[in-house]
């Protein structure tokens, strides 16, 4: 079995919320900070440990605030490094395909 083909998946709408909220927990429910700490980072560490890819499905919700995505993905890149994250991250967003570019920019720290 080729370990590089293993994938750790996240479906944001199913596993976290269909109505993602603001940047920080202090600003409201289902924040980017909460998503990063409770879902994204544990899955990232699991994927890294297993030498697997991390697949994040962004579809199925009611839309994302910029600050939610920046805090979740940009925040994870600030902790673990953009190269480590970009190397294993696969994103899916059929409903809002431009979000994929946006998230990659947040990871590279081009925008906050």
């Amino acid at each position: 079995m080729n370990v590089a083909e293993k994938t750790v998946s996240i479906n944001v709408a199913q596993e976290f919320s269909k109505t993602p909220g603001p940047r920080f927990r202090s600003e409201g429910n289902f924040s980017g900070e909460q998503f990063r700490e409770e879902i994204l980072e544990p899955k990232f560490l699991s994927a890294t440990a297993e030498n697997a890819r991390m697949f994040v499905d962004l579809d199925g919700g009611y839309g994302y605030a910029t600050s939610f995505l920046e805090e979740a993905f940009g925040g994870l890149a600030r902790i673990h490094g953009e190269d480590r994250l970009l190397r294993i991250l696969d994103l899916k967003s059929d409903e809002e395909p431009y979000l994929i570019d946006d998230i990659k920019r947040y990871i590279r720290g081009e925008r906050d």
């Binding site: 603001p22 409201g28 910029t66 600050s67 395909p97 431009y98 946006d102």
Partner: protein
């Protein structure tokens, strides 16, 4: 060895003679000219079709931007937005963002590299608008008058950037 000479006729001082080699050269030149003309015409037709498509996509984006701006009007009185209003604004924001994404995809497929920096300008404004609109929508009470004024300014800049892109496409 002398090539056969065909004499087409003699008209006073003008005498028309052509060798087989000259005839073959003339035919091949005419054929090449015909195919080059057809190639250019086809390419011009393709360029025109691409230009028409890109202009149409810009018009679509301008329409979606107007619809988004209209949806923002609903919350300009007391700034408190109900859930249905928030969803409507998000939906219009999504449609506008997708229309900008379609312009980018079409330009890339048509390899319109000269438009890259104009499209990047529209994309950057789209992202600014996304931030200005979606961030306040996830916190209460919603948008305050200062934020609404900033959004209206960005809508105007985005509209101008789209029109500038249209003009660049026309002038290509």
């Amino acid at each position: 060895m002398t090539e056969p000479v065909h004499v087409f006729g003699s008209f006073g001082w003008l005498e028309l003679k052509i060798t087989v080699g000259e005839l073959a050269l003339a035919i091949s030149t005419l054929a090449a000219a015909y195919w080059i003309t057809r190639f250019i015409q086809k390419r011009q037709a393709n360029d025109e079709a691409t230009r028409d498509l890109m202009i149409k996509l810009c018009e679509d984006a301008l329409q979606e931007l107007s619809a988004l701006s209209g949806a923002m009007e609903d919350c300009s009185s007391d700034c408190k937005i109900e859930d249905a209003g928030r969803q409507r604004i998000r939906r219009h924001m999504q449609r506008f963002s997708n229309s900008v994404h379609t312009i980018e995809v079409a330009a890339a497929k048509a390899t319109l590299n000269k438009l890259t920096h104009r499209i990047t300008e529209v994309k950057d404004l789209r992202q600014t608008l996304h931030t200005q609109i979606t961030d306040p929508l996830v916190t209460d009470p919603g948008l305050n008058p200062d934020q609404l004024r900033q959004i209206e300014g960005t809508v105007r800049q985005t509209r101008e950037a789209l029109i500038t892109l249209q003009l660049a496409i026309i002038q290509q």
